[in-house]
Every structure is written in C-alpha cells, then in structure tokens.
C-alpha cells in the first residue's frame, strides 16, 4: 500500500476529518488511486458539500416538471409529446487559465449534459462576467472566451441565441463563464443515468483518454493563489467535431432500445460518471482499465480515473446490444469499448494489468460525502438612496448617450456576431432582444408550430448590495424577459457563482441568494429544474460579486405569436405598464453618471410582478401589443432607446412624470415594468386599469430622433455610441 502522508491528503484538497472518514469507510488506508477518487468525489464541485443544505430548500416541482435537479439536466413538459431539457454550468477557472479552450470545453460539457438525456441540443446561451475593462487581462480574456464559445458551438451546429455580459473589477482575477444548453426530447424517449441489471455491459464511447485536466474538479473547488500558475494542470482541449459525431451517434443509438443508462464524463471523468450511475441504480461496477481507449502511453489507474478528457460518454447497455451499438459508433468513426460490467456487490472494483487498482464501496463515497452547515452571517441591509440626493443631469439625453455607450449597457453585437445564431434554421428572435426565440423542432428534425424563449439574467451589483433581493430580481427579470416576448415562463436553471464559502459573509450571500430565488420561484410557479454551484471564486481574498445567474425557458404555443423589442414604425403609442417610483439606488445612472455605487437595490414585489407579467402576456396573445421590452438596467429611457435603435424609429416622450423627479423617472430601475408600442393606447390602458395595473401613455413613435421636452438626440448618434464601445475597446488592444 502506498504511504499516504498528511501532505498528500492536503494536496488532494481533503481535510484531516475527511481523511478520517475515508479510513472509517474503508476500514484501511486508501491507496493513492483510491485517495484520488475520494478527492474528486468529495470535491466541492462534485459533492456540493457547502451548498447542499441550502439547495435542498429550492422549489423543484410543478405540473410541468418531468425531472428536476439531480440528473444531468432538468426536463419540462411542453406538450404534444415533447419535453425541453436544459441546464447551465460554469467553466470559470479553466477559462481564466486558458480562455479559448476553457470556454470551448465549457460549451462541450453542457451540450453533453443535455444530449445524454436523449435531447437534441437546439440552442445555447452564455452568461459572462469579466473584470474591469481597464484591467490588463480583460481584453485577452474577452477575446478568447468569445472565440472559444463560438468555435465550439458553431462547429457542432447549435445556435447561440443569447446571453449576457458584464464588466466589474471584482471579476479581475476570476472571470465567470456560464454556458447553458437547451434541447428537445420526445417525452417517452428520455434517458437517465441510473445503472441497473447486474451483468449488463458498461461501454465507453467517444474520444480516447489522455492526461487532460487531471484534478480539474478539485481545482475548480480551490481558491486561486499566487502559485496557481505553477500548479496548472494539463489544460483540456475541446474537439467540437468529435462532439458533433457523439451527438449524432448517441441520438441514433437512443432511437433503438439498446441503452439502459447513460452518463457523460464531465468533471472527474470516468470516476464520477461510473460512481453516479452505479449509486443511482444501486448496483456495483467492475471496470477494466486496460480496455479504456488511451491516447497516451503508460497511463496509470490514477490518471485514467481522474482524467477529464473531453467528448466521452459512459453507457450501460442491454445484454446483447453491443453489436448494434458498435455498428453505430463505427459509422460515426468514434471509439467504442466494452470496459466492464455491472455487479451486485455495491462496490466499484477497478482492475488494471490484472491487479485490483481500487476497490471502493459505492454508496458511502457517493452518498455519504461530507455535508457542511457552514457558519454564515446575514448580509447587512443598505440604506435607500433618495432621488434628491442624486444630482440631475444637465441634459438627460446626453446622459442617455453616455449610458448607452457604457461597457455594461452597450450593444453586445461584437459578441453575438461571432456566434452562429441561425444554424438549424429555427431562430425567430436573434440576440439583441429580451429573449432568444426559436421554433421547436422534434428531435428527428420535423417542424412544429411551437416556440421556445430563452434568457439568462442576473444583476450582480444588486446581489452584492442585497443578496436576497438581488437573487429575487434575477429570477423576476428572467421571468419578465420571457414574458416580454409573449412566452409562458416554464422553469429555471441556476448557476450560483460565489466566493469562498468558508468565509461567513460569503456563505451569508449564498444563503440570502437561495432565499431570494426560493421566494421568487414559489410566487411565480417557476421551479428550479437544474443548476450548478461554483464556489471559491476569489483571488487573494477578493471575492467576486455574488452572481446567481438564472437561465430560464418559456413556451410559445405558436412561434409566430412572439413580439420583439423593435419599434415597428411611425404612429404607435408608447405605453408604460407598471408602477414607477424612481428608484435610483444601485442604478446604472447612479454608477455611470453620478459615479456612485450605493444603496439598496430596487425592491421586488412578487405579486405585482406576477400580475403585471400575466397581463402583458395576455395582451400580446390578444395582439394588442406590437413591440415590448421589459425595463431593467438603465430604466425607462434606456429601454426606449434600445427599442428605437432596434426598429430604427424615433419617438417623442411626453412630460408625464408627475411628482417624480425627472431623472428618477427616466433612469430609475423600479422592477415590474414594461414599455410597449401599441396602435390603441386607450384600449391597453383601460384593460390594464381593469386588471388593477398602472399604465400610462408616455409618448409616440416617429422620426429618426428621440425627443424629450424640446431637446433631441438623433438615432444615428445614439447608435454610434451604443454600437461603438465594444468593437472600439477590443480593437484598442
């Protein structure tokens, strides 16, 4: 037996208490291979040891939910025998080290989570956070991450239909790359990971195994420090063409009855996939590593088990189905190997060169992983910022121009034009609106009339100021974005990006954010069906802003029923739906124009959100609304400007702010609001009033300028500010 010193234990990211538990489970000391297996299985990334306690409190059920968290991705019923399968996942640390490959393999990983379940991936999204634009590394990271996401998604042929991107100095040393995939499956052909049937063959397919990313899973759970440059593991390189083959081959095999269970090899590769499959099915596994296709020579058992080589899957087949399966993988020119079989021992026995390299009980490893109730302190509430304490601009339209050309509000065209957002031919609404909208195709390619709306949202500065209110806001903004295109919001996936959970303030942010998500999901019948946690996003003790990114999916019974943000032309009335109070705390106006990052974020009234959104959705269905945009960052005037640019149509704003200070009226970020363009303002306003929802006409569309009390701003000038920042910034490097 190898001598396992305390240093080796520590290098594997295990505490001495955790090591004692290993000794207790095994009744002996582990060998190095076994220790490696424990270390990845019990890493924060795989075991959710700090977050489990809190994640359990999220609402995960509803009549629409077919499968909630716990599987590779969440599944929601969309009628007509179809289901939507989706999840979001982070690849933060790898993307900081090698932005192109880190982001690319992030996309590859989340695609596999979705097609593993029998779904054809039909859309990708990405939620990105970078450091300050002034930080010397930012440009390089933006350029690599965007190219990597595009390089992978474009090649596999899945459209990237939206996402988000923010800059803030808290991400200088820890960028966030969260990728989401949405797929469509036939409801009666969904595949799960629970392995059953002692004797059934265990099959490995896809790329060969190399020494890629060994210890990636433990790295993802470790805080960066000065010498992480030295500890760099072998970086995983993505091979999107192989992934494309894997998608097609798996879907082809899934049309037969050969598969009992299937699981992609994600973080911690062969180890975590086989443990999870066995544990879920209550079986044992025997694997022979000599049969695993290897890319490199002399790989050890430790390396085989911990490798994170990409584009690999593990399957349990029905006995006798090997030949059917092999023929399909041969057709797609992918490696295929029977590497073991299921047993009834409840143990994982790993053989290599005729010896037993590891012999571990499955359930204690998979289920008895540590669960911590980490100490936490509630985040202090911040004072409200009153509008009279915030200076009004000399010229609101000039302030608008500044805002529209600021890093967080400018156009993301530079990003999304590098993504193929049209492949598959089903894109109804391209990036640039509130949500991406695609027409639903069946997994066999057949066209339907349904549409799916997809969005990702979170406003980290709100979450930092008040994690609970901020997380609530993230959920309602996602819900609003789906509503604004006319879709019925179905469910969410959450990607919780936080700092070091061993610090009580950070843990307090996490606990607060979970509470906010819970409250919002409950109130909106908007359950969490999948998610991912990324902790330890800190460098030298500086944590990122708490960033619970929400990915959400909504359904349009008819894809032709969606509306966009573009003003449709001259002669429409602009109606503001929802109540405006002029909340300037944590607003972009406060930060970008007044130079202050302060105060409480805008409060969320969940009942009002629900009532207002339901009203908007019905009005869209009733064809009362020609264009719609929810109000978020930058408030009313920014929303109007975005609608005007999208439709190349100007507008005249009326002076109707009443008692609210003009700058608070124009730039306040009160929640629960939508700006709509309608033919008949009277009809919409009275319908709103009947539903108890504030609504007022605030202007009219027309011309090529925005006009506000006699002063005006040409759309061309606004457009160059809005479109100019990103390409200008990237070219300046």
């Amino acid at each position: 037996m190898d001598g396992i010193s305390p240093d080796i234990v520590a290098e594997h990211g295990l505490t001495s208490e955790e090591y004692d538990k290993i000794l207790e489970i095994l009744g002996r000391a582990p060998n190095l291979t076994e220790l490696g297996v424990f270390s990845v299985m019990w890493s924060e990334h795989c075991s959710y040891k700090s977050s489990k306690k809190w994640l359990k409190t999220l609402p995960t059920t509803g009549p629409q939910v077919i499968c909630g968290p716990g599987e590779n991705a969440g599944i929601v019923d969309i009628g007509d025998g179809l289901a939507v399968v989706f999840k979001m996942e982070s690849h933060n640390h790898p993307s900081f080290i090698e932005p192109y490959q880190g982001a690319a393999t992030g996309v590859g990983g989340i695609l596999r989570d979705v097609f593993t379940m029998g779904a054809r991936p039909v859309a990708n999204m990405n939620a990105l956070r970078f450091g300050s634009p002034d930080h010397p590394k930012t440009r390089h990271l933006v350029s690599g991450v965007v190219a990597g996401i595009g390089g992978y998604g474009n090649c596999v042929g899945v459209p990237t239909v939206g996402g988000e991107c923010n800059f803030h100095s808290s991400y200088d040393g820890n960028i966030l790359v969260n990728a989401m995939t949405v797929g469509i499956a036939e409801k009666d052909r969904i595949f799960y990971s629970a392995a059953t049937g002692a004797g059934n063959p265990v099959v490995y397919v896809g790329s060969k195994t190399g020494r890629d990313g060994i210890h990636g899973a433990t790295m993802a759970s470790a805080e960066f420090n000065e010498d992480s440059e030295e500890k760099r593991p072998t970086v995983q390189v993505g091979d999107p063409f192989t992934e494309k083959l894997l998608i097609e081959a798996c879907l082809e095999l899934m049309a037969t009855d050969a598969i009992v269970a299937i699981q992609d090899m994600g973080a911690a590769g062969l180890t975590s996939s086989s443990f999870e499959m066995a544990s879920k099915g209550g079986v044992g596994v025997e694997l022979d590593l000599d049969r695993v296709p290897a890319r490199e020579e002399n790989m050890t058992a430790y390396e085989f088990l911990l490798s994170e080589s990409q584009e690999r899957m593990l399957m349990v087949l029905r006995p006798g189905a090997e030949d059917t399966a092999r023929a399909i993988f041969d057709k797609w020119e992918l490696d295929f190997a029977v590497v073991g079989h299921l047993t009834d021992t409840g143990r994982m026995v790993i053989k290599m060169n005729g010896d037993v390299a590891a012999d571990l009980p499955i359930d204690p490893l998979a289920l008895a992983s540590p669960e911590y109730d980490r100490p936490w302190t509630p985040s202090p509430k911040l004072a409200e910022v009153t509008s009279d304490s915030v200076p009004a601009p000399d010229d609101p339209l000039a302030a608008l121009e500044t805002l529209m050309g600021s890093p967080d509000l400018c156009s993301r065209r530079w990003i999304w034009e590098q993504y193929d957002h049209l492949v598959m031919g089903d894109t109804v609404q391209r990036p640039g609106g509130d949500a991406g909208v695609i027409r639903v195709q069946r997994p066999n390619g057949e066209v339907t009339n349904k549409g799916l709306a997809i969005t990702t949202d979170v406003t980290p500065r709100y979450c930092f100021a008040d994690p609970e209110e901020g997380a609530k806001q993230a959920v309602v903004e996602a819900w609003r974005n789906l509503t604004a295109v006319g879709a019925l919001p179905l469910a969410i996936t959450d990607n919780m990006n936080f700092g070091n959970p061993e610090r009580p303030q950070i843990m307090g942010q996490f606990v607060g954010a979970v509470a906010g998500i819970r409250a919002a999901c409950d109130a909106l019948n908007f359950p969490v069906v999948s998610g991912n946690v990324s902790l330890y996003n800190e460098t030298a003790g500086e944590a990122i802003l708490p960033t619970p990114a929400i990915g959400a999916v909504g359904l349009l019974e008819r894809f032709d029923g969606s509306v966009g943000i573009a003003l449709p032309g001259d002669g429409y009335a602009l109606v503001l739906v929802g109540e405006t109070r002029g909340h300037l705390g944590q607003s972009l106006y406060l930060r970008e124009i007044a130079g202050r990052e302060e105060g409480a974020p805008p409060p969320v009234d969940l009942a009002v959100e629900k009532r207002t959104g339901d009203f908007i959705r019905h009005a869209i269905a009733d064809k009362l609304i020609a264009a719609c945009h929810d109000l978020s960052d930058g408030g009313l005037l920014v929303a109007l400007a975005e609608m005007a640019l999208a439709g190349d149509t100007g507008a005249v704003l009326e002076d109707v702010n009443g008692k609210i200070a003009q700058h608070a009226w124009l730039f306040g970020e009160d929640q629960g609001r939508y700006l709509v363009a309608v033919r008949d303002a009277g009809a919409l306003v009275s319908a709103a009033q009947a539903a108890g929802i504030p609504a007022q006409k605030i202007g009219e569309t027309g011309g090529k300028e925005l006009i506000l009390q006699g002063s005006s701003l040409a759309l061309d000038a606004l457009r160059s500010a809005h479109e100019g920042w990103f390409p200008g910034y990237m070219a300046a490097g």
């Binding site: 474009n154 596999v156 063409f241």
Partner: protein, 236 residues
Amino acid sequence: MTAAIIVFPGSNRERDMRLALEASFGRAPVMVWHRETALPDVDLIVVPGGFSYGDYLRSGAMAAHSPIMREVKARAEAGVHVLGVCNGFQVLCETGLLPGALMRNASLKFICRDVHLRVERADTAFTGGYQKGDVMRVPVAHHDGNYFADTATLDRLEGEGQVAVRYCAPDGAITDAANPNGSQRSIAGVYNDRFNVLGMMPHPEDATHALLGGLGGKPLFDGMAGALKELKGAAA
C-alpha cells in the same frame, strides 16, 4: 425535380437546406451520406454548410477527397446542376469544380449576420427568381469566407460573367463596409465556366420564411425549381 443533399459527418445546415428545397421543389430532397459512392438520378446536387470533417486543416479540404465528391464531380462534368453553400462552396473550390480559394475572414473572426447581395446576372438556372441588379438580404455565418483568386483568374471570372453575387450595401452599391470578410472584389459567389455549378458563402436557405430570417433567399430556390423543371421538360 429531385434534389440531393450531400451529408458529411460535420454538416450542420443540411436540415435548413432540406426545408428550403422542400418548400420550393414541392418534395423532399434525397439525403446522401458522404460514404456513398453513387448518386441517384437527380436534377440538383447541393453541398450544404457546416464543418464537413471538422475542417481543422483547411475548410473543405478533406471533404473534397471523400468518395461521394468524386461522384459529384463526375455529375457536374456531365452537366448536372450543383449548388455549394458556405462549407459547400469551400468544398467545391477544394475539389476544383470552382476556381479560387476561401481564406480566413480578414477580421479573423467568425461572422454571423445579415448581408446584402447584388445579383450579377439573372439568366442562369440558379438566379431566374431575381432580376439582374436585384439586392437580396440573407445571412452569412462563416470563419473562412474571404474569396481569393489571383488577378488573372479574377479578371477572367469578371470577363466571362462568372461572378454570381457580390456583397453590397442595401442600395446595391459595392463598398468595403458592406463586405463582411475581405473577399476580393466583394465576391460572395461564383459560377464555373459552364454555369451549372454555383458556390456562395451566404445562406439563402436561412432566409426562406418570413418569420425566420425573412424571404431574401426564397427566389433563389423558387427560381431553381422553375429553371430545372423547364430544363427537364426541354430534355424530355
């Protein structure tokens, strides 16, 4: 009329193409797997967009040597109409059916957006749905669409009227700003010297539905359907 679409393992716009062809031709095209060595009797062969074999070496390089492309080449030489879009254009150039090469975009970035194309001639079997000088709005989605040929070849292509479509401004003006990839002389698509083979970078198939990218590419498919039917009638 029947069309065939060649499917490589990394093709990813074959479905988009199938839907567009089906809508204009009134029947579904035959999908032909890259390992096939024979083609059914068809009036049109389409090589669709995607990343044929991953395209890591050079776009279309490996596909040009696939068994099925030998057959496509023979058919083209026998006068069958062949359309290559995006990766299909790259494959046709690599195969030698079309002159020139497609290099990395001048920006070095993948680019996906709508462009405008000026139809340089409307008297071919591909462009009968347009008038000469018409401007169509269709998307591009490529990394290697920067058309290159040496000056002599370019002069010859222009002289023989083999330039099919050029990137232009919405009003038809040929400007550098309207060229998304730096292609020589704003070329977006070319014919072979017999005008039965057309290769183009933009995706007309993704602009054949009013709500899914608009109708800018629809006349191309309708025009092909009409012209090929006529040819078939004349031959019969």
